[in-house]
């Protein structure tokens, strides 16, 4: 028995070391392949695959919209698959398109389409849209701002999704910080700070906000623009523009004001790992995040939920960071004319039913929808619809994508965690982006 145990253990040991060596030699990578089968189930049913990255609160709204479309269109089936978010999503979609396993249509952020197009993975929409009932003039200018590349349209916009301010009416009401009509108004940065300090003294979390990821960078961007900072990249998009003699003091002041919220007035607690969860749990008075949270937060928080547009913290123009959810057309030699037709039918239907999609919280891209009774009857959208006018996107480049630039985010987090002084940090942000732009990143 003892001998047998010994031998077994030895065999196991030898096999394990062999496996490790093999893994070490071969790079030990795990690959996951997502397979989208394009099949027609039954006669005359055309299937189109649609990938998106809606892992947030708006995902369930998209599920409902697609289900409604499939229900009302017996000859078309939209196979809707939600993949991961951010750079990993882009990696997955682009790799699949190159391997000819891509979806028929895919969602993207408006400001990353140029980057995708530069990899040669997208078709232009123009001929398909020309043969449909969709006009480019149906859409708001803001939603279309990055659509045209070399004279061709490379995306169809679904919405403008902007950052808005969410607040907890119970916490602020208790401290007497709401208007007579029970809403929140913030006059400027100092007023904001005063409100947050009052909440802090009362023991609640004043401002639930992360120190990593996109959010701190977006807050800096909004402060910077509201203070009168110019475009953050030069017109050729080869270098940053926020370090010119005119813009640099503004960029530093904007970052200092962001820094102070974390470290001086300390109205943002340290290491909030999920700012939306903390707010949703009713523990925080205010958070700033995207419109994709509106329906999700409203339905889970009930009466304490409040939302308003980004205030003018500085100056008179309440510029807000925004983006667009758009649909791109992956290059696909196997797409059939029937599928092309099905795609136009889907998009036409989506455009005329965009108020359904707007239930998630986003501002519709089709301007007529903004005037529709269905859209106007939505409970919260009126509080921030005005933001469309002040929506500011990141500059679209063929290399840097500001929404998920981890090296840039790392620098910002380093500033907020006091590892890098504010002034040095802003210079470091500039050199990081410049290096990425010069790399053809």
């Amino acid at each position: 028995m003892g001998v047998k145990v010994k031998t077994n253990t030895k065999v196991l040991a030898v096999s394990l070391s062999a496996l490790t060596l093999l893994a070490a030699v071969s790079g030990c990578g795990s690959t996951s392949t997502s397979i989208s089968t394009k099949q027609t189930s039954g006669q005359n049913v055309t299937t189109i695959t649609f990938w998106d990255f809606l892992t947030g609160g708006d995902g369930s709204t998209m599920d409902k919209v697609i289900a409604e479309f499939n229900k009302t269109h017996p000859t078309i089936h939209v196979d809707h698959i939600t993949q991961g978010w951010g750079s990993d999503y882009a990696t997955k979609v682009i790799a699949n398109i190159l391997a000819n396993k891509g979806p028929d249509i895919a969602m993207a952020h408006g400001d990353e389409v140029l980057r995708w197009e530069s990899k040669g993975v997208l078709d232009s929409w123009d001929s398909l849209i020309a043969s449909s009932n969709i006009q480019w003039s149906d859409f708001s200018n803001q939603s279309l701002q990055d659509a045209v590349i070399n004279g061709q349209h490379y995306y169809v916009p679904l919405d403008v999704n902007s950052f808005v301010m969410f607040y907890n009416k119970s916490i602020l009401g208790k401290d007497g910080l709401l208007n007579k009509n029970g809403t929140l108004t913030i006059d400027n940065y100092n007023d904001f700070l005063k409100i947050l300090t009052t909440v802090k003294e009362d023991g609640s979390v004043p401002f639930s906000y992360p120190e990593n990821g996109l959010n701190p960078l977006a807050l800096w961007y909004m402060f910077y623009l509201q203070m009168g900072g110019g475009p953050i990249l030069n017109s050729a998009k080869t270098q940053v523009n926020f370090t010119t003699s005119q813009n640099l003091p503004i960029a530093i002041k904007a970052m200092q004001d962001v820094y102070d919220l974390y470290n001086t007035s300390q109205v943002i607690p340290t290491n909030v790992s999920n700012s939306i969860s903390l707010f949703q749990a009713g523990k925080a008075a205010i958070t700033i995040d995207g419109t994709w949270n509106v329906n999700y937060l409203a339905s889970s928080m009930g009466k304490s939920f409040g939302v308003t547009s980004i205030p003018a913290f500085f100056g008179d123009e309440p510029y807000a960071y925004a983006n667009a959810h758009v649909i791109v057309l992956p290059k696909n030699s196997q797409r059939t004319p029937a599928q092309d037709k099905a795609i136009s039918v889907f998009l036409e239907w989506f455009n005329s039913h965009e108020w359904m999609w707007a239930q998630s919280g986003h501002i519709p891209a089709v301007t007529a929808i903004l005037q529709s009774s269905q859209y106007k009857s939505l409970p919260y959208q009126k509080y921030y619809q005005s933001e469309l006018k002040y929506a500011n996107f990141w500059p679209a480049t063929s290399s840097v994508w500001f929404v998920d630039d981890s090296e840039l985010n790392n620098v910002v987090q380093g500033i907020l965690l006091k590892k890098i002084p504010v002034q040095t940090g802003v210079q470091q942000m500039a050199s990081t982006v410049n290096s990425q732009l010069s790399q053809g990143y």
Partner: protein
């Protein structure tokens, strides 16, 4: 031998050589790639984020290999002892090793997470109300990652050591006991020298393994806070597959390969010399 060689050529040799070729190009996924000579390598050599990530990788090797080797040895001693339920302990100690990386990451996120993680809640109930950010503060993050690695990987080293321990003839210990050797003396003068060759193997394998660490760190910290735990593989991954700069990404891989080879050769020389001297 031929089938192996064919598969090895297709799936290992060809990608490696193609990677080497790509590292000399401004490589485009579609369209024209242009030959840029050593430009990608020069960029890598000047890239402070690359060297920062490289240092994080070396740091991880330094802090993870010794405890993983020692822990593997200790666990092997425990499960090799004539105790009741040793089989049970063997399984318990080894099981974390077979879990997938995403399971490990989820589990430890729940244990170490901020505001409501298991450890935080337990400390809270013991009267320690300070919020400790195990996975997102500069002070704790590497220690936390090290603990996760020890929990996850020690079992594998335990199996290797166990095989070695079972090879030591019982007569040697019996003779030592008759001669009056204490348990410590038996460990110091019989057990440790007898498994020295396995120690070399375990240390070497563990070093290679720790150099390649990426997934559990990425899943637990995303390389944060502020890039403090970004290891070199993560940086290569994000350069090549998230930012699509394949030429530079490939160049980074080969710089990393050279560093690893140098490190491994030095380590093997050092270890074998020590083992020969000590045996």
């Amino acid at each position: 031998m031929l089938p192996f060689f064919v598969l090895y050529t297709i799936f290992s040799l060809f990608p490696i050589l193609n990677g080497l070729r790509i590292s000399f190009f401004n490589y485009q996924l579609t369209g024209q790639s242009t030959f840029v000579g050593l430009q990608n390598y020069l960029h890598v050599l000047r890239d402070s984020v690359f060297w920062g990530s490289m240092w994080h990788t070396v740091l991880y090797v330094l802090i993870s290999v010794p405890p993983l080797v020692i822990m593997g040895f200790i666990l092997a001693i425990i499960v090799n002892a004539p105790i009741k339920g040793r089989r049970f302990f063997q399984v318990i100690f080894f099981i974390p090793n077979i879990l997938s990386i995403s399971v490990i990451a989820n589990l430890w996120s729940a244990i170490l997470g901020n505001y409501g993680g298991l450890v935080g809640t337990v400390l809270n109930s013991l009267g320690i109300h300070q919020q400790i950010n195990w996975l997102s503060s500069y002070h704790w993050v590497w220690i936390s990652l090290d603990i996760v690695s020890i929990w996850w990987e020690s079992g594998f080293n335990m199996i290797l050591y166990l095989a070695a321990l079972q090879d030591i003839p019982d007569e040697v210990y019996e003779a030592a006991i008759i001669d009056g050797a204490t348990p410590w003396q038996r460990l110091r003068y019989i057990t440790i020298p007898s498994v020295s060759r396995i120690t070399i193997l375990v240390t070497f394998l563990q070093t290679v393994n720790s150099f390649q660490a990426f997934a559990h760190i990425y899943l637990l910290t995303q390389g944060g806070p502020s890039g403090f735990t970004t290891v070199v593989i993560q940086y290569i991954y994000s350069t090549a597959f998230q930012n699509f700069v394949f030429g530079t990404g490939a160049a980074m891989s080969f710089v990393f390969l050279v560093i690893m080879i140098v490190f491994s050769v030095l380590q093997l020389k050092l270890l074998t010399r020590n083992a020969e001297g000590g045996a």
